[in-house]
Symmetry: D3
Subunit: 254 residues, 6 copies
């Protein structure tokens, strides 16, 4: 199976680290292909950036969907997820949603630990959108800042581990999500220092994408009631316009 990992952040190095963790957790036979946003911000952190990035996600999937069995949106916060799930006939997975739902099988409540207070409200938007408020033990963020988004998971490693332990001790968390694309892989590295399961969102997303494809969802989404009817467009990205206008031209043929 082929999974398209869309990084809506413009940072190519982030795509590389996400795909490295993703590939380490695929089943035999799963191929991960990636695409990185060319427009936008280096790291999406709020509603403004998520609004813009969500539209980008639609364009990137539309342009790269050939032969793809499932899509992963490579930003915790899942920009564009509801829209992409509505537009495309294949499973679309968000790192945040996949991590949260996976965590629900590990106990009553999960805690989200991330690296910047700027992300908190956007992450809570996700929790609310998925109606998981009753399962979330809160979002914890370090007081300290950091120098480099590329190195943040190393710079703040001790702080993040301490926050995870605080969440278990004080927030009654049964699992911890180490959230945000820049933390990809951290959960595996620090698992031994946290007394409950630490969920890695990109690894969870890969597994859930494989699960949905394995259950046959890629063949059965075409009849859903909420599939948008064809509509004319003006000035949109051509591939995205093709999707919205229900044109059958193959991707890239324009």
């Amino acid at each position: 199976m082929k999974i398209l990992l869309v990084n809506p952040n413009t940072t190519g190095a982030m795509t590389d680290s996400l795909s490295a963790v993703a590939r380490a957790h695929t089943q035999p036979g799963t191929e991960i292909v990636t695409v990185t946003a060319e427009r936008g911000v280096p790291y999406i952190a709020n509603r403004v950036e998520a609004q813009i990035a969500g539209a980008q996600v639609l364009e990137l999937v539309a342009a790269n969907r050939d032969g793809v069995d499932a899509v992963i949106i490579g930003a915790f916060g899942d920009p564009g997820l509801p829209a992409a799930r509505e537009l495309f006939d294949i499973p679309v997975i968000g790192m945040a949603e996949a991590a949260m739902l996976t965590a629900c099988m590990l106990g009553d409540r999960f805690s989200i630990v991330t690296f910047s207070v700027a992300l908190k409200r956007w992450y809570l938007d996700c929790v609310a959108m998925y109606r998981l408020d009753g399962r979330c033990a809160g979002v914890r963020v370090p007081g300290a800042g950091f120098q480099s988004i590329a190195a943040v998971q190393h710079e703040l490693e001790d702080d993040l581990v301490e926050l995870a332990n605080d969440a278990v001790a004080n927030d009654d968390a049964d699992s911890v999500l180490l959230a945000g694309a820049p933390l990809a892989g951290l959960a595996f590295r620090v698992a031994g220092r946290i007394p409950v399961p630490a969920v890695d969102p990109i690894a969870a997303a890969v597994r859930q994408a494989e699960t949905l494809v394995g259950l046959g969802a890629s063949q059965t989404l075409t009849g859903r009631a909420h599939r948008p009817p064809a509509k004319p467009t003006v000035g949109l990205d051509p591939n995205l316009a093709d999707m919205i206008e229900h044109r059958d031209r193959p991707v890239g043929a324009r």
Copy 2:
């Protein structure tokens, strides 16, 4: 005061009818200026189109914000509202939110009556986002189709009035929102045929925009905690990029 009415639909005639109703309900001294999306779809009706339109809204406000005291997003469903409210230091009003909150002062529960089943889920997204599920008596849509979006409020007038009466009789509705930009003004025309207040969303939005400005909100939003810090961008619309990058260049000076 100057209110910017952004129509994220690409249909100019819709901007005209919205602004006509809006202008009929302003206080003395209020000026309505309008802008219409140049890219997108003629009429936004689902999550896909709202995702794209929401990003457009940010660009259109960024480009037209000079001297503006408040912004109205001219599509019931409020594409881009949370992002715009986060990005700009002036009040941003959505037709859906304004109509719903206004209706809350007219009784326990409001009903939403609109002209196409395609809109239902998107509208319910709004209700949930504003956490007004407990105040909404449902969304009712006609079985019949229509020929022209421009004339839909006339074509389906009798059906919509009947649905409004059904909502009062069977759904325990205390007020009715006649929802969707193409229905602008209909509430006033059919008020005598509905036994409870019929709320016109664009008129409600204008009044609420004036209210927020009148209460001084345009001067006091600059210090809010969730104002995004400056961030570099790549390839975005220049005016929007200015906003995100916190550049002080006046609008249109690029």
Copy 3:
């Protein structure tokens, strides 16, 4: 348009300060007339007093409704609001409800700041009754007491401003309601010292009353399903009895 401002507190000076703020925020052509409760307590602060005051509100509106387009109940906590809204065929606005709903357009969550812990539970009753628990960031009250209800907004001004800042910094509030009739006007005076919009409840109530009348609600409430049928009464205030018994005698003609 004529708006009746009912002060269910027995303190005439409070009526004066409420109406002064109200009049400063009306549109041209709006007239504010006032009436003050002759029976009751100087300042309503709990459920007991609200139960009594709510019945008073019905009497006062019944006696003073001639030519009135909308009613404002001049006590944050809105005593008698659901009953008055059921009984009378014109819009009835509460200071608490109007302020909360207005605040909902300024961000995700509002905080209520008031001057005495005695008010807290009653105010939370309001939040729950309007099903706005998910939008309220809490109620904050000063530890310090005060000498005079008439001067409380000056005595405690610094404390209240500090509480408002605490609500923003610690409770994630996007706006602050300076709540309680004795605080009328304070929001405008201290706006510069609070980093988010401070909502003045009486000003919000006036604007919302004008909005409902402007949208035509005063003409369309007569057909609502929950209008009580006529019923005999014994020993009630004559004007209120007239309303309940559906007698057509003009107000004051008895």
Copy 4:
């Protein structure tokens, strides 16, 4: 123990039938004393009447509280309950609340069956106020009208039994409340024709009053945090004024 049954309706015959059922379900040693409202309406059925009746309840309890161990408010809908519970240092029981909580011990969900559609919204207010929405399977009312409030439980007996059976069959109800003071005693008479427990609200209220007194609540309510402090009053009923002003004069000594 002495229980004061306050009938906030002005119909003395209703007091008689309520107290007859009440007395049939007391324990040895329990005395029921009654008082009937002299002002108000013959039968309370909506928010307007409940607002007025609730204030009456406070006066009636204040005037008749000597030697009383607990109070029952004799109207399903519980007018004045939160206020009375705040003001008096003895347990105050509502027929609606007592019946609903009792029913919660008989299965997941109770249904409310009553005799007029006019009551429905007021009863649902109660369900919401007690936060029991998740336990209520709905309110069912007959289509047929009735001639006499005194005889309604006989006139509509077959309809009410059928509604109760419908609630079990279609609404998944585990118990049924036969609600409204005019239905006092009906639950016992028709128990054999309903396949689940039929709860009689006045009988439930008596038992719950005895339970609270038996558990010692009458001695332990004096220290509660939300007991209102003394406050001056103007023009109120003298006994009620005594309570609010914290005067120690015995009841009736004025």
Copy 5:
């Protein structure tokens, strides 16, 4: 009437203390018979033990149901309650549920005070199962440990009283449940030291059992829709198997 008090804990002394408090609160004519689990743990404290104990409860009731009018499950946490209520045609009362619902008549919110942190999550499961989250002000537990489960209510008396006072002062509790079978009777002993009603769960359970029987529930549960149909069993306790297989052999006749 005859009430069967089932102690699902294996500690006989606990049965004795529970039944002593129970008997002190019965009405004339009520007989309490007891049975103690022979298998299980001395004191049930979590989901594992509650799962096992719940199955035991079914066996113990099945074996001892002859002539019984109602059943009380003698463990706060109510192991097996929903299953027992489904299986048996007589009222089944849990100490936790009875105490919580009783407390709901004493004010807006109750607090649960117990003696060990191990119990907290299980107790909150109960609150959620009964959908009373909105009425619960929290669970408070002492920091200190204890020597003997038999003496814990004496050992920790001062700590528990202090926690109850904390709950009133800081959690806005209107009543306090002194929860856990080992605390039976404590509420009565310390009532004078807590400013709000302290509810004793076993006493509340006895009163509620009497109430349900008094209202006739023991005769009317046979027709309920969710009564399980007969089903074959293998290897189960013979009395329980009889119940599930709908065999009519009298209890103990095997």
Copy 6:
């Protein structure tokens, strides 16, 4: 990896069909071992049977846990899941929970389609326990009965497909769970006749078990805060007693 599939029903043929579907959906390297309850009922369908079966599940896992990486409880309804998750240091998966959470990634709301009305309330208990009420579009059951539990998925195939289509058309379902162990494999067989993804619960459970093990949960559950401390037991199954008493004897060594 080794997954223990516990069938708490006593029907061996059901174990065979569950394990056949399970094995068809494992990754390379995953081994499924099974155990079937020797005591209980042929097919668990309600709270009574789930209470008993849940205790059985604990015994069966305790006796068969050697070398096991994760456990699947092979009954939709997940008897014993919270207890097993508390007791054992490895992931425990329920068919109902796994299917519901998987379905959450396929759209807003899932519908549950099953073969008997007897199951409905138990299944809704699950939905509520996982706090997924807002994601569930309801439970649909056929009116028709069936001859044989072993053949029910063939007997009722057309009815079940029609119910699934009804759920999509009328309940706004985005996916359908074909629920109940006797329906194992049906989702794959009828996928082409249902316009949205049909989720097979046992296949979903296998995939989710593999996911949790793959994310490392089997190594990180030992430190969780809610792990029960050692406690003495009387008369329990020896392997279960070993677990509860924290004895280190290997399984089966007694």
